[in-house]
């Protein structure tokens, strides 16, 4: 992959630099809320990036991606509730349960196509939502408060705002790097080939279903990590994390930023959540502007923010 000097790459570099330096700004200006806001944004950016892997590159429109946020979060919450505070146990459990869930629902959902796939992933996420509502031992509908964040011994202290911010940022950059490597590997090429023409890939001997399934599981696992981070960030996990509108938000972030571009979902998450924050300062009725804005983006700005930047740099 050749890196060239165009609008797109400049923006990406600026965003990364901005994210790296944000705690400095927050410390100097004394605006703590900026740090907490961006911690949240980074976590959702990771979730959106994982969704982009299957949606943008794999052509699998999952409308149930928020389920992994919940599963990762509940893995942390339930273990903490049962007295297992070590992050070395909590986080791997969060990843493994997300991966297993993705394996089960992926192996069933990937038999269907198009709208049916959108609906079946939604159905599975709703099931996860109702299971979480039924966990009366762990708060049921009201959710579960996490009294102590994941404990990583003397290594890092997640209760420290700045340290937690950098942990999240490291997860995001690591996640995006991993997705970049996957997309440009032989495996990623096959997955993208299957998106363009499944029959042809099948005909030249690739087991399309298996490739898609593995891709689906990887995406779910990364999103599970975002879930574990989110639970640590809010010190709380509830079924609402998995509600279908949350999955919709994630889709919006991906498309907002530009589907199928590596950094698009990150930009999309930043833009979406900042806009939400910004509009809600002006008016309580921020969705009154956000809703039509989404409609306009779909109608007039195909390819999202990254698409606009791409057109801009081509002149």
């Amino acid at each position: 992959m050749k890196l060239s000097f165009n609008a797109r790459n400049v923006v990406v570099v600026l965003v990364i630099a901005g994210l790296l330096l944000l705690p400095v700004y927050s410390a100097l200006s004394g605006k703590v809320f900026v740090l907490t806001l961006f911690t949240r944004i980074i976590i959702f950016a990771l979730a959106a990036a994982s969704l982009n892997l299957i949606m943008g590159y794999g052509g699998m429109m999952s409308f149930g991606h928020a389920a992994y946020l919940g599963i990762g979060g509940y893995a942390v919450g339930i273990l903490a509730h049962e007295g297992i505070g070590s992050g070395f146990i909590q986080w791997p459990v969060a990843l493994i349960t997300s991966a297993l869930f993705a394996l089960v629902i992926g192996s069933l959902s990937l038999r269907t196509r198009g709208v049916y796939f959108i609906m079946i992933t939604l159905a599975f996420a709703q099931m996860a939502y109702y299971v979480a509502s039924g966990l009366s031992r762990y708060g049921g509908d009201d959710g579960l408060t996490i009294y102590k964040r994941s404990d990583f011994g003397g290594l890092i202290n997640l209760s420290d705002r700045v340290q937690f911010y950098y942990v999240c940022l490291a997860c995001l950059l690591g996640g995006v790097y991993l997705i970049w490597r996957i997309v440009n590997s032989r495996f990623g090429m096959v997955v993208q080939g299957v998106r363009s023409n499944e029959q042809r890939m099948q005909a030249i001997g690739f087991p399309a279903y298996r490739y898609r399934l593995v891709c689906f599981v990887i995406s779910g696992t990364i999103c599970g990590l975002a879930g574990a981070l989110l639970a640590n960030n809010t010190d709380f996990v509830s079924p609402a994390v998995m509600y279908w509108t949350r999955s919709g938000d994630l889709m919006v972030m991906v498309i907002f930023g530009g589907m199928g571009s590596l950094f698009g979902p990150v930009i999309g998450a930043i833009a979406f959540l900042l806009l939400e924050e910004f509009l809600s300062q002006f008016t309580e009725y921020w969705a009154l502007i956000m809703g039509p804005l989404l409609l306009l983006i779909v109608l007039f700005a195909r390819g999202g923010i990254m698409g606009i930047l791409g057109r801009f740099s081509r002149g």
């Binding site: 069933l108 038999r111 609906m119 409609l295 109608l299």
Partner: protein, 305 residues
């Protein structure tokens, strides 16, 4: 026994209500290949319109008729201003745009009617219990929902299967380009079908309103159920939507009514009373997942394109 009859009727009533919502959705989906998440918002608007007009005119019937007309107009307006431009686009674009509309309508309602829910009071002649079998009484209002919904379903069947406009609708569902090429004004047809779907959604919303409260977001859960129904029934198939709606309505209602008692036989009573609602909500999604895995096209797929 008495309880079983009553719950079966409740299931039927809920199923028919779901059918009204799903019928519009499956028509729009089948004919225009358009995924409309904002269908639930039309359901909500129908309920709000009804609550407003009934309070305003002081007459239940007049208010309901006005509300139906208002939802129909809203649907036509929505189609011709915004949604028309999304036909032929990717499903994902449609999901996203109509997701934006849900956000918009929820906040619009909050702005106009306030965050608290409204009540739609019934006139006294609809609140009396009616004797349907010797010794079995059933609320007149729920019974009237069943009758109205069955009448609408029959009318819909007649319109779609026996009239010229219905023939065009069916032709549009099986081949859009062809009927356009034959000189049919397909744009007008689409607008009409969308308006019809909106009115049906509004009808479902205003009929449900006196049973539950009229509130923001009331359309969202039921919209997902309606989607489940059209996916189970086969997209574009009215008959499939009808069967699936009754099926889903029954399972949901009976599950909620009898699952707690069944579970209590195997679990402790506190565990059963918390697990049962979650389990009965899950049942429908489980059903859909199984059907999609076994028959990915739904139970009654519309004729192949």
């Amino acid at each position: 026994m008495l309880v079983v009859v009553e719950q079966c009727l409740n299931g039927l009533q809920f199923g028919l209500l779901l059918f009204l919502l799903a019928a519009g959705l499956t028509l729009v989906f089948g004919i225009m290949d358009f995924v409309n998440l904002a269908h639930g918002s039309l359901y909500m608007m129908g309920a709000y319109f009804a609550a407003t007009f009934v309070a305003w005119t002081g007459s239940f019937v007049l208010g309901v008729v006005l509300a139906l007309g208002a939802t129909l107009l809203l649907g036509i307006l929505l189609e011709s201003v915004a949604l028309r431009h999304l036909y032929g686009r990717d499903h994902l674009d449609q999901v996203l745009a109509t997701f934006g509309l849900i956000l918009f309508f929820n906040d619009l309602v909050r702005l106009v009617w306030g965050p608290a829910g409204l009540a739609l009071p019934l006139p006294s002649w609809l609140t009396v219990p009616v004797q349907i079998l010797p010794g079995v009484y059933y609320p007149a209002y729920r019974l009237s929902i069943i009758i109205v919904a069955l009448a609408v379903a029959a009318m819909l069947y007649f319109v779609v299967m026996r009239t010229r406009i219905g023939m065009l609708i069916r032709a549009g569902a099986s081949n859009r380009e062809m009927i356009g090429a034959l000189g049919i004004n397909i744009k007008l047809l689409f607008t009409l079908v969308f308006g019809l779907g909106a009115a049906l959604a509004g009808l479902a919303g205003l009929m449900q309103a006196p049973i539950l409260t009229v509130q923001i977001g009331m359309g969202e859960n039921i919209l997902i159920l309606a989607f489940v129904i059209i996916v189970i029934g086969g997209i574009g198939s009215i008959r499939g939507a009808f069967m699936a709606a009754i099926f889903v309505g029954m399972i949901d209602t009976l599950g909620r009514a009898f699952l707690p008692d069944l579970l209590r036989k195997v679990l402790s009573s506190t565990a059963a009373s918390t697990a049962a609602p979650a389990l009965s909500s899950m049942l429908i999604y489980l059903l859909m997942a199984i059907i999609l895995v076994v028959r990915p096209e739904g139970l009654f797929p519309a004729a192949k394109r």
